[in-house]
Amino acid sequence: MSLIPYIDHEHPVTGVTNAKFGIWLFLASEVMLFGALFSTYIILRTGATVWPHGYEVLNIPMGTLNTAILITSSVTIVLAWAALKMRQLPKFKLYMGLTCLLSLIFLVIKYFEYAAKFHHGYYPATNTYFAIYFVITGLHGLHIIGGIVVNAYLLGPGSKMYATEPERFTGRVECAGLYWHFVDLVWIFVFPILYLL
């Protein structure tokens, strides 16, 4: 119907669909966004007179659990995509559902972590360590929320597209997956620098 080509099949020269190229460009900009925050982290840390060790003020078991959860959700979403590739819609729904569930659990744990910080009187204004901690994890959390919205859409109303344009739908899931892996990837760096070092 559409006059816009390469929505559901790859461009012969570039070898990618529009959406996939688009999502990679978007991720490129995200790299620069988090890069600026990591740069800030280094500067604040090297310039600080006191810098608490993450393990003194943060809850490492909770952080580890969250890391594991996020990694698991990354696997489930890639499995969801693989299921679609094999044209198994129920399996897709199962894995996508799991992904959403895991990401919600991540947020719940994050909520308890934040609550514990506030309870101990640690706020962003406490020192530069907590300032950057709250900003990076907060922004990361917003990315998680964004991902949940997209994934839930693809799981629910969005999946109607599977009936008419399965290729295009699979492509969408792949893009959502790429984004989700990226969010996971950011966490893989955030976890050691904030919690462990």
Partner: protein, 94 residues
Amino acid sequence: MSSHDSPEEIKKAVKLYIGIFVALLFLTLVTVGVSYIHLSVGKAVALALFVASIKASLVALFFMHLKDERKIIYATIGLTGVLFVFLMSISMYL
């Protein structure tokens, strides 16, 4: 990617994903475990970033299919990588 479309290929890929998953969990435990030893700052940073980079590479190469992606995606990432280095260099100036 058309070359990976066949169900057998996908099945193989799924096995691989599970393997990567296990590796990622393992590496997570490694970093966390090491953090309890309280190494000197330099060593701790080097080790933590090293492990994190391996994990990130695994995610990028396999989950994000970067292992066999198109030139145009590599180009995008390459450019971003270089500019990312410029951006991180800010932290050396202050």
